[in-house]
Amino acid sequence: MIGESMYQELILEHYKHPQGRGLREPYDAEVHHVNPTCGDEITLRVKVGDAGRIEDVSYDGQGCSISQAAASVLHELTAGSTVEETLSVVDEFTRLMQGRGQVEADEEILGDAVAFAGVAKFPARVKCALLSWMAYKDAVVRSAS
């Protein structure tokens, strides 16, 4: 596999061994998002604890390796961070994904999620990568209200 590949080992790892997969209790909000273009779907729950710290992000869904791995990476990155911190990661991830491969990823902020940089060149795949992240953003907003 070539260097530029979209299929970084890390993505395949997360796809084959998803972190935190499965829906768990307790949770503050649950959302269900679908990508109508390709049929990928995700159900995602958020539990926010004291001081606005994420206690758990649990999820289930189906779709391609990109959408599944993105959910797994999301689970890892959010664990233990404050809502605010995670939302800035979501923003940076969104910026990277919508940058058509022209945007430099900020590894400081994104951590493992930089592995998705190659996806940004394929508009049709961007939504796969963003599905769980958008669901997460939605769930966080709902949990606050």
Binding site: Y7, T37, I66
Partner: protein
């Protein structure tokens, strides 16, 4: 008689410089996505370049040397396309920007129009309102679905459709209930862009004629790959697109029976489609110009003319025969890939060189991207702008390999090797 398969694929490949290109990372290119859009041979590219650089000017309206050169080249392209599809008259060939515009153009001819001020009432064949029906099929490309959905939303008419059988054929068992006295037009694909199925035009046409309905063919996937004779087919409208038949992007074709095109109201308004304009009304140019508002895709039409020349130089019979050989080979070769499920006819009977399939447990997005990443194999993955057809088969997406005159059995072997590799990666 020459043998119809006498197509020298190695010589042909030399005309397509991109086929010897090295992709980033040193991958070769194995292009199996011509159903999406085809590559362009050097004569087409050079015709475009030469015209843009040395002969360009606006057409029709310009009265100088360059104007005459450009107009002559543009109108010659119309002659070429007309001859290529057996159009009874060159004036029946309308240049659009793609097949989608051609389909929308016909859809927009229907309605309760008020063309009174230009002296024309709505021809009864195009009068459409509540109670009237339009028939399409479940295997259509979105470009032959959405224009009709928008039309029934505008007019209150009803949209109906043929189902698709498990083998990927048009389900004609309901033909007589579906196509009735209420039907104004039946619009179906000549060849499916997913299944490869070639539809039985004559059967549908016979019923449509019985009830007085018009018939349109979306020939986007047939005109590039088979000899097509619109007069012989006997239908009313045919739409296709230049970029799938070795031509440039930005050019499509609507062929229609002259008498119908003349009866239709104009679609886009603007320069070139008029006869005379006053502030409060206008009269329109005769066909084909009536439907070509504004500066047309000049160089694109000329490039399409060069593509038609190229295809005719090889012979559409030879193109068809070559693709048939590739299809036979691929149907056989794909059988050995474990868990592969073909969506569409499994035999050579009435089918073209488009093969869509699924691999158990592996999302087509992943199949396509690994094929590309690892081997430079370009296939299309997703619903191929035919989501209802995929819903029909209960799958969100397929992987599609589609062949053209420049493809080889060696490339099909590479695809099979690639699919084995994909299965290893996701094992």
């Amino acid at each position: 008689m020459t043998h119809p398969t006498s197509l020298d694929v190695e010589r042909i490949r030399k005309d397509f410089p991109v086929l010897s290109r090295e992709l980033p990372g040193g991958r070769p290119l194995i292009y199996l996505d011509s159903g999406n859009s085809s590559q362009k041979p050097t004569p087409v590219v050079e015709t475009v370049r030469e015209h843009l650089a040395m002969h360009y000017s606006n057409v029709g309206r310009a009265m100088h040397a360059l104007g005459a050169e450009s107009t002559e080249a543009y109108e010659s392209a119309r002659d070429k396309v007309a001859a290529f599809i057996g159009a009874p008259s060159r004036d029946e060939v309308i240049f659009t920007k793609n097949a989608s515009e051609a389909l929308n153009l016909v859809a927009h001819a229907f309605g309760p129009h008020l063309w009174g001020s230009s002296g024309e009432g709505t021809d009864p064949r195009f009068a459409l309102g509540p109670g009237d029906e339009i028939v399409i099929s479940e295997m259509e490309h979105h470009s032959n679905i959405v224009p009709w959905q928008l039309l029934v939303q505008r007019t209150g008419a009803t949209l109906k459709w043929f189902g698709v059988t498990d083998e990927g054929r048009l389900d004609l068992s309901t033909l007589d209930e579906l196509v009735t006295e209420r039907t104004k037009i039946v619009s179906i694909a000549h060849q499916s862009n997913v299944l490869g199925t070639v539809n039985p035009v004559a059967d549908v046409l016979r019923r449509a004629r019985e009830v007085g309905a018009l018939v349109m063919l979306d020939a986007s996937q047939s005109v590039p790959h088979h000899p097509v004779d619109v007069a012989g087919l006997g239908v009313d409208f045919v739409a296709f697109t230049g970029h799938k038949m070795l031509g440039p992007s930005g050019i499509g074709v609507l062929w229609g029976r002259g008498e119908l095109l003349e009866a239709m109201p104009p679609f886009l308004g603007g320069g070139e489609m008029i006869e005379a304009v006053w502030m409060d009304h206008s009269t329109y140019a005769p066909i084909p110009h009536k439907f070509e508002a504004g500066t047309p895709p000049i160089v694109e039409a000329i490039g399409l003319g060069a593509a038609v020349d190229y295809l005719q130089g090889i012979g559409m019979d030879a193109v068809e025969a070559h693709e048939r050989e590739l299809t036979a080979y691929a149907l056989e070769a794909l059988r050995e890939v474990p868990t592969l499920r073909l969506i569409g006819p499994e035999t050579l009977d009435r089918r073209g060189a488009t093969l869509s399939f699924t691999l158990e447990g592996i999302h087509p997005h992943d199949v396509g991207q690994i094929l590309d990443d690892s081997f430079g194999i370009a296939v299309r993955v997703g619903h191929h702008c035919a989501r209802p057809l995929h819903l029909r088969f209960g799958i969100p997406a397929t992987t599609r390999a589609s062949f053209y005159l420049y493809n080889t059995t060696g490339e099909i072997d590479a695809l099979v090797r690639g699919l084995h590799h994909v299965q290893k990666v996701f094992a």
